[in-house]
Symmetry: C2
Subunit: 223 residues, 2 copies
DNA sequence: TGTACATCAGTGAACGCGCGTTCACTGATGTAC
DNA sequence: TGTACATCAGTGAACGCGCGTTCACTGATGTAC
């Protein structure tokens, strides 16, 4: 396997923009391993040594890229918020101008993201595990949530900035609560027993999610 | 303080039904310390040694009452489900016969319990931390959730047993999701920034909770 | 193109820590007589 | 009421474990000349 000429990866490293490393791309590999580990054992089961082990690297290696455990988890959370925000924004844009359709689309995107990316989503709402001041984390997460707020403002005829009215605040909180609660209950396995009776685990996305979305609070339901 | 005659506590122990111990009531003290610790450091920050330390007792002492860590946490969870179920049942009963009022009352009780008993509530939904087969845990938690299901059945005119119709299932999931999501977001601190703008942390219970309850899905809203 | 050097990603041994659990024990309590 | 004994709640030392982090290091890479 070991030949005298440079490996193709080393050549790529020379040509590429930002992959100057010894090891290929350990940074990316560590992030990947971290997500897999969270998926397997939950946010609590996470350990930096286990991540290093899975990446085939010494326990001190991650420190070079992320400083410490919180650094790595903060990076994973940042990726999560970034993808989450994009998913919400994309859904909102694709829904067209109707406020109810926009809220519906965002709710669908919210839950879909949570169920498709359980490791990231779970970490994102465990803020003791990462540093909220990490690189671009604060603005990125704020941007994600402002996407919902913007749709609520449009739905209630509120101005685009300034304090929310009570009605708008209620609608925002109710919307956020119902999709967040659904995601949380589904990820916690609380819906597994009824899902089993409806043809397996994907009944949650296929059947329960649309049922829930029918009850999404929208502006015109109550005065 | 130390006198020769028996202390009143020892006499009580003799007279009482089930408090025969050396130490007063270590069992209760350990449970209390466990809840305080979870409150302070979260479910993850829990440690049996720290509980023993707070109860002023050797690290081996808890084993006598609860076997091991899971045993103690299972007991706390059991207490939680028991109190939770009572709170829901009481609210339901006090609401009278109107289905919407019953759902509203249960939603209010659900969130109120979560915010008043954050340690218990947090543990109850972290089922990897305790043993679901512990003593009466399974039936007790089932009873709590059946209280909501019963109100949904009555609200939708479903028979008291048998599989739920799609409509009823949707209403159940939507109701559960919105109150659970609200509780989760509030406990996670996600509502603290807006609450600060409305006069402090109790704005969550005082203002946001009633706003959310206005949007509780009830049977007659959609066909 | 070839050599000398600086950089820095990754090594692996070592550290100190708090944890859960075990074990032989001790000593107060309740009970049998 | 008084004595002997069994019970068992609580002790405290010890165990082995996996953790996060440190440290001096090594060796491949990219760069300056």
């Amino acid at each position: 396997m070991a030949v005298k000429t440079k490996t193709s990866r080393e050549k790529t490293a020379k040509r590429g923009k930002a992959r100057p490393y010894h090891h290929g791309d350990l940074r990316a590999k560590l992030i990947e391993a971290a997500e897999a580990l969270i998926l397997e054992r939950g946010v609590d089961g996470f350990s930096l040594r286990e991540v290093a082990r899975r990446a085939g690297v010494s326990p001190a290696a991650p420190a070079h890229h992320f400083g410490d455990t919180r650094g790595l988890l903060s990076e994973v959370a940042l990726l999560g918020f970034s993808e989450f925000g994009k998913a919400l924004a994309d859904a909102d844009r694709a829904a067209g101008p109707d406020p109810s359709r926009r809220l519906h689309a965002q709710g669908l995107a919210y839950v879909t993201f949570a169920l498709n990316r359980p490791a990231r989503f779970g970490l994102m709402f465990r803020s003791t595990k990462f540093d909220p001041e990490y690189k671009g984390l604060r603005p990125t997460s704020a941007a994600a949530f402002q996407c919902l707020e913007r749709a609520i403002r449009d739905a209630t005829g509120s101005p685009p900035t300034g304090e929310l009215s009570g009605d708008a605040m209620g609608l925002l909180i109710a919307n956020w609560s119902i999709v967040h609660g659904f995601a949380h209950l589904a990820l916690g396995g609380e819906m597994d027993p009824p899902a089993r009776a409806h043809g397996g685990k994907d009944a949650i996305l296929r059947i329960f999610l649309p049922l829930m979305l029918k009850y999404l609070p929208v502006a015109d339901v109550r005065k």
